[in-house]
Symmetry: C2
Subunit: 136 residues, 2 copies
């Protein structure tokens, strides 16, 4: 998300879909790394560098971008400490936290789908957030 052409059909359609609460919701969580970030933040605050370490393959640029969008959308809070070297911590907001159980349901559905569709199971491990993935 660098610069958007207001008034392209593409952008108008995006706005149109923003009117529906469902597609609106999906737009908020739609960035490639956003849900992973939310899940990492579930146990509590995390520093920028820790997120970077814990999320495989994410670049600093993408991490910054996605975190800033999450912040702008009110899903996470940014805490800046006036230290050197700098320290910045990220934390889920209440409404962001409400997304977590929904993600649990989606995760379970994804597992069922994968099994039915491919006959395999996921081996991805969310080490630091185990309790989320046990769906009620």
């Amino acid at each position: 998300m660098t610069s958007i052409k207001e008034n392209s059909t593409n952008s108008l359609n995006r706005k149109l879909l923003t009117d529906c609460n469902l597609t609106y919701a999906v737009q908020l969580m739609g960035g490639r790394w956003k849900l992973l970030l939310l899940m990492r933040l579930e146990p509590g605050r995390q520093r920028f560098g820790e997120l970077k370490k814990n999320i495989p393959n994410i670049t600093e640029r993408m991490l910054t971008l996605q975190l800033r969008e999450l912040e702008a959308d009110g899903l996470v809070t940014r805490h800046v400490f006036a230290e050197v070297p700098p320290r910045v911590e990220y934390e889920l907001t209440p409404i962001g936290r409400e997304l977590v159980p929904i993600c649990g349901t989606l995760h379970a559905w994804g597992g069922r789908h994968r099994y039915q569709h491919t006959g395999t199971e996921s081996t991805f491990s969310h080490e630091n957030t185990p309790e989320i993935w046990s769906t009620p």
Copy 2:
């Protein structure tokens, strides 16, 4: 989704995220028009032309693409009738149908978020699928 560069970092990262059941699930429903299509199909089978009529601003190309991806992902079934002019109907699969209540929850969350974040409410109407949007 026309042609994908195998082995670009971009594509490798996509595959990596496919390992997680959550991001896997989001990939399946991530196309711009997919969830709207799923919701339209909830009441029952629909013809290509009806979907086109009912979904604002979607082009034939996008409709085709998204439906084909949904089909390839096992979320909808395609029924072709050997008639002239042609008739094709689309229908939710069982696992696709399991996504509907989750969408209901997401829709509700989206509504809460929008209200908190913007102070407004959605005016988007899903005429043909009213019962979905009343979340338990």
